[in-house]
């Protein structure tokens, strides 16, 4: 209980911080938003790939499904519902509706996760990867053929409801949810699947259940991330959800360290900021970008964080170490 109060205080502080970030230069602010959204994507994929050990590269599909559904709800039904809530100020009702639609989008993705997961999670390794990739592409083809959401023309006219406070809120929820799952008996069950599925089953772990659980929780947050993305850019386009998007998220989690949530956040940071940081190089930009990826992987094959987490504890110990070192220099 005490921990929960503590967490809520932390959340509030973070949200206040996020609120202040709106005063930043809009360019930085926007990069922050994308970092947040990417972090949600990365952490949720990490649950599937890093902790459960299931090689999935269909994350873009879940992101698209949730994103498009919540965007379609806002565009087609948002006003009606806001009218129903006219007894409260619009600035509040708008956000309540947004919150609900995001969750509906997330749940829809989670549902897809279950539907896809039950049959395909029997597949192993690269075979699973291909099945999830195929699934992501199927979703995209369906969207291309759906005129209600604009098909190939994209889906414009989504109101901009996402802001740094929302992104921070969801990133935090995502982190806490995953963190607590992982550090419970359920989490150990999930991790044991990654370590040795056969042994895990022999220990009484219902591996199918946990795989599908991880898959659908991952899908849920991917859907939320999709919703945040659409309601920030004010436009969704199927070209944003090719398998290259899934690959990018995969890059983030491997770079950050499979099996490390804080690593995912760092990985998301690197891959969000790096392309921006390299803008000055114009033509060489992407060459440097890809070289950096390769070099990072060569010098840290298990990712920046491996499977460790950043915590207050080890930050303090690093600070101490630094103190000692600078002390020596003096």
């Amino acid at each position: 209980m005490r921990k929960n109060v503590f967490i809520i205080i932390v959340l509030i502080l973070l949200l206040i911080l996020a609120k202040f970030s709106q005063g930043l230069n809009p360019y930085f602010y926007q990069v922050l938003i994308f970092w947040g959204i990417n972090s949600i994507l990365a952490m949720s994929l990490n649950l599937i790939n890093g902790f459960t050990g299931q090689f999935s590269i269909g994350h873009a599909g879940f992101m698209a499904a949730g994103g498009y559904l919540s965007a379609a709800l806002t565009v087609y039904h948002g006003d009606k519902i806001i009218k129903l809530l006219s007894f409260m100020p619009e600035s509040i009702s708008k956000n309540i509706v947004f919150f609900i639609f995001l969750i509906i989008g997330g749940l829809f993705s989670a549902l897809l996760g279950v539907i896809i997961g039950i049959p395909t999670l029997r597949l192993k390794g690269d075979y699973l990867a291909i099945a999830t990739l195929g699934f992501g592409e199927i979703i995209r083809v369906i969207i291309y053929n759906m005129d209600v959401v604009g098909g190939a023309r994209g889906f414009p006219g989504i109101p901009q409801l996402t802001n740094s406070v929302w992104v921070m809120f969801w990133a935090f929820i995502c982190f806490i949810t995953l963190y607590r799952i992982i550090n419970s008996s359920h989490g150990r069950a999930i991790i044991s699947i990654r370590e040795d599925e056969t042994a895990s089953e022999a220990m009484g772990v219902n591996t199918t259940y946990y795989k599908v659980l991880a898959f659908s929780i991952g899908a849920f947050f991917a859907g939320i991330a999709g919703g945040l993305f659409g309601h920030y850019l004010m436009l969704l386009h199927p070209a944003s959800f090719t398998f290259m998007r899934s690959v990018e998220v995969l890059l983030m989690i491997v770079l950050g360290g499979l099996g490390s949530l804080t690593g995912s956040i760092i990985g998301a940071f690197v891959l969000t900021v790096l392309p921006e940081a390299l803008r000055g190089f114009s033509g060489l930009r992407l060459v440097i970008y890809s070289l950096t990826l390769i070099i990072l992987m060569l010098i840290r094959p298990t990712g920046l964080m491996g499977n460790r987490e950043i915590s207050f504890g080890n930050i303090m110990s690093i600070v101490k170490k630094l103190n000692r070192r600078t002390g020596n220099i003096k």
């Binding site: 090689f55 049959p119 395909t120 029997r122 597949l123 192993k124 690269d126 075979y127 291909i130 099945a131 990739l133 195929g134 699934f135 592409e137 199927i138 083809v141 369906i142 291309y144 053929n145 056969t198 398998f243 690959v247 995969l250 890059l251 491997v254 770079l255 499979l258 033509g283 060489l284 992407l286 060459v287 970008y289 890809s290 070289l291 990826l293 390769i294 992987m297 060569l298 094959p301 298990t302 990712g303």
Partner: protein, 293 residues
């Protein structure tokens, strides 16, 4: 109607033989190194460009240009392996995959920088001839590509299964350390594998360039992906499987376009793939090894 179906099947086979051509190299490298060489599609693109310069700028005859492209690409393949993959030989498999993705981006972006992204017409050293069998149309290039891919499959099967270096390749794939203890120089074997895989990719690139008459730095992405899917479908690591997977993908895509709807072609093709995998979880020719516990 019957004619139409036959024509479509021929279309499917010719598309499938292109997927197969690329999938062969993919699957061989995978079979030996358990590496999804994400950059394979881009090596294929490099091969096509080297062929483009060999045939166009240096004006070589087709056969010579093809060989030059294969040789140069093989060297590039070896370099890529030495620089980017070798240091990670004992790292987790996924790190290697990420590096391969990095290499893929790098090759694409370097080529964009060097030659630009505008598609180029591939020098046409072999004029297209159209043959009519009844009302069914086949071109000489389709026949060339089909026969080359069949030939390469047989050739690879032979190399991998019947030669000493092939045995060493398989031994390395199953147990690197043990292979070394028997005197196999695994660096050489892996270099050879990459050289062979890259040369195959280059052959594919040149042939496809000749066939579609268009090359560009991103030309490897989609065929690379499809070829990978084909390789998995047939049972990844299994050489005839890549061929079979390629044909099934090609024919399925064409038949879906022809008789269902071209709009949802890719979706249906992937649904077929997933269904096949659910029935045969290790691909069509994959051995379903229930893990012995």
């Amino acid at each position: 109607m019957l004619e139409n179906i036959l024509q479509q099947i021929i279309n499917g086979i010719s598309l499938g033989s292109i997927y197969a051509l690329i999938a062969l190299g993919y699957t061989m490298v995978y079979g030996i190194l358990r590496l999804i060489n994400f950059a394979h599609g881009d090596i294929y693109m490099l091969g096509a460009f080297i062929g483009f310069f060999a045939l166009g700028s240096w004006d070589m005859p087709f056969a010579i240009g093809l060989i030059v492209a294969m040789l140069l690409t093989a060297i590039i393949g070896i370099l890529v392996e030495k620089l980017a993959y070798k240091p990670l030989r004992n790292a987790p498999r996924i790190s290697l995959l990420i590096t391969a993705i990095g290499v893929s981006f790098l090759l694409e972006n370097i080529m964009v920088l060097l030659v630009g992204a505008t598609p180029r017409a591939f020098p046409q050293k072999i004029p297209t001839e159209v043959y009519l069998i009844g009302n069914i149309i086949v071109t000489n290039k389709q026949i060339i590509i089909l026969s080359v891919s069949i030939f390469l499959m047989l050739f690879l099967q032979f190399v991998v299964n019947k030669t000493k270096i092939g045995r060493a390749m398989r031994a390395v794939s199953q147990d690197k350390e043990m292979a070394q203890m028997l005197g196999v120089n695994i660096d050489n074997v892996i270099s050879f594998t990459f050289a062979l895989g890259s040369a195959l990719a280059a052959a594919g690139g040149v042939l496809v360039g000749m066939y579609f008459n268009k090359i560009e730095p991103y030309m490897g992405i989609m065929p690379g992906l499809k070829a990978f899917v084909a390789a998995v479908l047939g049972g990844i690591g299994i050489i005839p499987g890549a061929m079979l997977g390629g044909f099934i993908m090609g024919i399925a895509e064409v038949l879906v376009s022809a008789f269902i709807s071209s709009t949802i072609r890719d979706a249906i093709a992937f649904i077929i793939l997933i269904v096949i995998l659910l029935v045969k979880p290790t691909g069509i020719l994959g051995k379903y090894m229930r893990e012995k516990v």
